[in-house]
Symmetry: C2
Subunit: 405 residues, 2 copies
C-alpha cells in the first residue's frame, strides 16, 4: 500500500527557502513531482539566517540557556517556512497541509536542543497523500511527552526528513541543498574535486564525522539503520546529485572515495603521565563531563610513564588544558597546538586493499607534510597536520588516490 | 481557592516586548509583583514590528490568503516573545513556564484570522502558580478542534488576556501598553486631554467602536460579560492608569467622559431610490456580502422616493459605490465624500441628562462645523464632518462638556 503510493520525502534547507522566490520554486518543484506520479512529502528548515537571528536574540536575553523556552524560540523559524511553503503550494493551485511536530506527532526524548526522535505518527500524512494533499512538515523540531517543543540540534532537519522517510517506508529521501552533490573533496580546497554519483552509508557517515557538512551525521545513521536511500541534490537544478545507499548497491567501490578535511582543530600533548589505563579513563571522563569532545587519541609508553596526545575542537583547547593541569598539577609538561587541521581519506574499498595507509603516509611525506597525530579505522585514515599545508596535502592525496579523474 | 491566589493577569503589548531590554523589564515587573504577594500570569503579544514582517511575507507568497497556514505563520511572532519573556524571568532568578495556545488549551472556533475563544483550560496555570512558577502565555492565538493554530485578529492579545483572567477568576487584568492611560481625547488632537481614572465597560466599548485604539473591543466585551476589571497602564511607569469597571463602580458619572474620533471615513449619498424598506435591505445585504462594514446610516423620504446616506471605511468607498451603481443603474445620482472624519462624545451619564445632543449640535454650529451625517445611541453622539475641521470640533466639544478640567 505505502509503496504503491510512491512516496518521496523532499527536504529543503535554509537557502532553498531563503526568499519568497525560492519558496515559490520549492512549491513548483513539489507540484511538478506530483504531476509525474510521485507522492511528495515536504520537510523544510527555517529560512536561511532566521535561526541565527533567533539564537542571537536568545543569547542576548539569557546566554547559554537551554530548555523548553529556548527550543520554543528557535523552533519558530521552521514554523514560518512551513506556513509559507504551504501557502505557496496553494498559490500555485495545489493542495497542502502544514504540520508542526506536535501536530503531526514527531515524538522525541526531552534532551532539549539535542533531542532524539523516538516515534513518528504517519497516519495524517498517509490520509493527506490519499487525498492529493502535499504534507509540509517542520524539520528540526519534535515534541516530548510533556508536550514541550524540542529541537534536534543544528542541521537536524536532515534527520527529521530521513526519519519521516523511514517511518513512511518512502522510496527515497531527497535532500535539496545549495550544492549539486557530494564531492570527492571540498572544491574550494581541491579544484579538481568531482561529484560522487554513489556513496555507501558507511562512507557518508565517516565523511560527516570527519568534517563534511553536506549531511547531518544522525540522518545518515538513521538512513543506514532503516535502509532509506538518500539523494543529495541541488534545489536550483533538476539533474541528479549523489545517492547515498546500502553498500551492496554501490558501483564497484573505489578504494578511496573522498578526501575530507576540518580546517581547525586543536591538539594537546601531556607527558609524563603515570602509567596505567586508569589515569586515561579518569582524564577522559572528566573531559566528557565538561562536554569536551575528544576526537583522535594517541598514547605512547615512555620511560617515565606515558605520553598522551589528543585532539579537541579549537574552542575547547583552553578548557581542556586547564582540566589536564588540574588533574596532574605541575608534574607534567603540557604543549598545545591550536593552528592545525585534519585531513582524511575515506572509502569502503580500503577494507580489501592493503597498503592504503602506507600510500597515505608516503604521499604526505613526499610533499613534506609533517603528521602530528594519526587515527585509522576500517574505512578511513586521518592525520592532524599544520594548517598552512592543508591545501597541498588534500590536493596531493586527491591525486594519489586517483580522484582527479 | 483561586481568589486566595491573588491572581493578576498582565498583558504586555508589542512595544512593551519590543527589545531585549524591554523584555527584561517585563520579567522584572512580573517578579516584583510576585514579591508583593501577587500571582502573576503573563500574556504577551509579538515583538513590535514582527507581526507586520510576517504579514508582509505571507502577502508576498499568497496575497489575501487566510487559513491554517496563514495563522500558523503570524502566530510565530508570539511564540518568539513568549519564549524570550520566559527566559528573561529565569535569567533574573525566577521560575517561568512558556505556553503556546495548544499547550495551555485556548480553544477557539475555526474562523481563521478572526477566531473566537470558546474555552480555556486553567489547570496547568493553577498548578504553576501553586509552585511559584510564572506562566507566560502567547496572546493572539488559539487552537481549534482539528489541532490547527488559529488567531483572534489584530489586537487579539487583549482578548486573550481578559479571557484568561475571566477563566481564572483573576483579581484584575492589567493591560500594559505604550500610553499611560485612556484619555478624554487623543492628546495629539486635543492638547487639553486628560487621563480618565475610571470608565465603565459600556463607555469603553463605545470608545473602542468609535476609533479609540487603546483596547481591542472584544476584550472589553468579555470583561463586561464576566466582570473582569481591566487596568490600562504604562509598561514604562509604575503609576496607575485607567480602570475599566462595571458601571456601578464608576465614580459619579460624568455626563460625557470622552471625545473620540476617526480621522478618515467615507460617505456615500444616493437619490432618488425607490420607496420601501426592501430596497435598503437588499442594498445592505449586498454590501455585507462583500465584507463592507457600514457604520452610520441616514435615510430621508423625498418626493421622488428616498434619499440614503451611509458611511463606510475610506478604502471601501469605490467598491461600495460600484455596488450601488450595479443595483440601481443610471436612474440614481450618487455622490461620495472621501475626505471626511467622524467625531463622537461618549458617556454613560448622557442617559440621565437630556439636552446632550442639543449641546453637541450647538457647539459644532457655533464653531461653523457643518455636519454631514449623525448617529446617536443611549451613551454616544457621533457626527461626520469635514476633515480640516476635526481638530477644532474635537477641542470645542472637549471644552463644552467640561473635560478640559
Amino acid at each position: 500500500m505505502k509503496s504503491q503510493m510512491n512516496i518521496m520525502v523532499k527536504k529543503f534547507g535554509g537557502t532553498s527557502v531563503g526568499s519568497v522566490e525560492r519558496i515559490l520554486n520549492v512549491a513548483k518543484r513539489s507540484l511538478d513531482c506530483q504531476l509525474l506520479g510521485e507522492s511528495p512529502v515536504v520537510v523544510v528548515s527555517a529560512m536561511s539566517g532566521d535561526t541565527n537571528r533567533l539564537v542571537a536574540l536568545g543569547d542576548q536575553v539569557f546566554p547559554h540557556h537551554r530548555g523548553p523556552a529556548y527550543d520554543m524560540l528557535v523552533a519558530s523559524g521552521e514554523q514560518v517556512s512551513v506556513a509559507l511553503v504551504s501557502m505557496a503550494i496553494e498559490r500555485l493551485g495545489g493542495k497542502a497541509r502544514p504540520y508542526l511536530a506536535h501536530q503531526l506527532g514527531i515524538f522525541t526524548d526531552s534532551m532539549h536542543s539535542k533531542a532524539r526522535i523516538q516515534k513518528i505518527d504517519t497516519q495524517k500524512i498517509l490520509q493527506d497523500i490519499e487525498q492529493g494533499i502535499i504534507p509540509v512538515v517542520a524539520g528540526f523540531q519534535g515534541v516530548d511527552d510533556a508536550d514541550n517543543i524540542t529541537t534536534l540540534g543544528r542541521g537536524g532537519s536532515d534527520t527529521s526528513a530521513v526519519a519521516i522517510a523511514a517511518a513512511l517506508n518512502a522510496r527515497a529521501c531527497e535532500i535539496f541543498t545549495d550544492v549539486p552533490a557530494v564531492f570527492t573533496a571540498d572544491p574550494r580546497l581541491v579544484p579538481k574535486a568531482r561529484e560522487i554519483p554513489k556513496l555507501s552509508f558507511e562512507e557518508m557517515i565517516e565523511m560527516a564525522a570527519l568534517g563534511s557538512k553536506v549531511l547531518h551525521i544522525r540522518s545518515v545513521e538513521i538512513g543506514a539503520k532503516h535502509g532509506v536511500r538518500i539523494h543529495v541534490r541541488s534545489s536550483f537544478e533538476s539533474r541528479e546529485g549523489t545517492w547515498v545507499v546500502p553498500e551492496g548497491e554501490s558501483m564497484e567501490s573505489a578504494v578511496v572515495s573522498s578526501v575530507t578535511h576540518e580546517s581547525s582543530t586543536g591538539v594537546i600533548t601531556v607527558e609524563p603521565l603515570p602509567k596505567g589505563t586508569e589515569v586515561l579513563a579518569k582524564l577522559f571522563t572528566a573531559l566528557a563531563s565538561k562536554g569536551i569532545i575528544v576526537d583522535i587519541i594517541s598514547q605512547l609508553e615512555i620511560e617515565s610513564g606515558q605520553r598522551l596526545s589528543f585532539s579537541v575542537g579549537t574552542d575547547d583547547v583552553v578548557a581542556a588544558t586547564g582540566l589536564v593541569r588540574e588533574q596532574f598539577g605541575s608534574h607534567v609538561s603540557i604543549s598545545t597546538m591550536k593552528d592545525v587541521s585534519k585531513v582524511s581519506i575515506v572509502g569502503v574499498g580500503m577494507r580489501n586493499h592493503p597498503g592504503v595507509a602506507a600510500k597515505f603516509f608516503s604521499t604526505l611525506a613526499q610533499n613534506n607534510v609533517e603528521i602530528h597525530l594519526v587515527t585509522t579505522s576500517e574505512i578511513k585514515v586521518s592525520a592532524v597536520i599544520d594548517r598552512p599545508l592543508l591545501e597541498k596535502a588534500a590536493q596531493s592525496l586527491h591525486s594519489a588516490f586517483g580522484l582527479d579523474q
